[in-house]
């Protein structure tokens, strides 16, 4: 019974992602879109934290938001997804939790 958490706020100006990462169960997923993809900016501490997380949770990011922001190198364990895969991920988990 796993949850896919949807994040869209930048981790540098907002606490949503930090709060969300504190309450994950093993097997849950984290989907980054909008400014939340800035968490994958190469060289940042939060990016390293997300890489560590991938040992127990899936981390995925919306391709168009990565591309628009010029973030083109992802860690090997973090996948970039299109909208069809976004839909597929929502169907694959038991529920989604959007951090509005």
């Amino acid at each position: 019974m796993a949850t896919l958490h949807l994040h869209s706020f930048s981790p540098f100006t907002d606490t949503r992602l930090a709060s969300g990462l504190r309450i994950l169960s093993s097997g849950d997923g984290v989907l980054l879109c909008g400014d939340a993809v800035y968490a994958l900016q190469p060289g940042c501490a939060i990016r390293e934290q997300l890489v560590e997380l991938t040992s127990t949770c899936e981390v995925i990011a919306l391709a168009e938001d990565l591309e628009s922001r010029g973030i083109d190198s992802l860690p090997a364990t973090i996948r970039s997804i299109d909208y069809a895969q976004f839909v597929e991920a929502c169907a694959r988990y038991d529920r989604t939790n959007t951090w509005l």
Partner: protein, 117 residues
């Protein structure tokens, strides 16, 4: 019936979000839908005593909180870590269960639907 957990993380004074989160819960309660609310982050400020809504020409949100049990919503939770970080206590008249971060992780996975406002 499918259950729903609402995670409320805005202070009552930051705009309509806190009230509109409660409205979702009350509407669900009116339809006998199993609802639960978790207060975390600045949402825990909704539970504090000594607030004076009239100062800001606002309606008192605590009245809505007291109405929750009338709508059959008794599953109220508050994040212990959020209380501790802000050094606040919930008012004693509200029956709210304190939960740790790892308990929250388990709690979310017990409901059919979840939303964080």
């Amino acid at each position: 019936m499918k259950s729903m957990l609402i995670i409320s993380r805005q202070s009552p004074w930051s705009g309509p979000t806190a009230r509109e989160a409660l409205d979702i819960a009350l509407a669900g309660g009116a339809f006998d839908i199993p609802m639960a609310i978790l207060f975390m982050d600045d949402g825990v400020f909704q539970l504090c005593a000594g607030q004076h809504a009239a100062t800001l020409q606002q309606k008192d949100l605590t009245a809505n909180l007291q109405a929750l049990s009338l709508f059959g919503i008794d599953d109220l939770y508050v994040a212990q870590s959020s209380l501790a970080a802000r050094a606040v206590q919930p008012v004693e008249t509200l029956s709210v269960k304190r939960v740790s971060d790892s308990e929250i992780a388990t709690l979310i996975n017990r409901y059919d639907h979840t939303i964080t406002l």
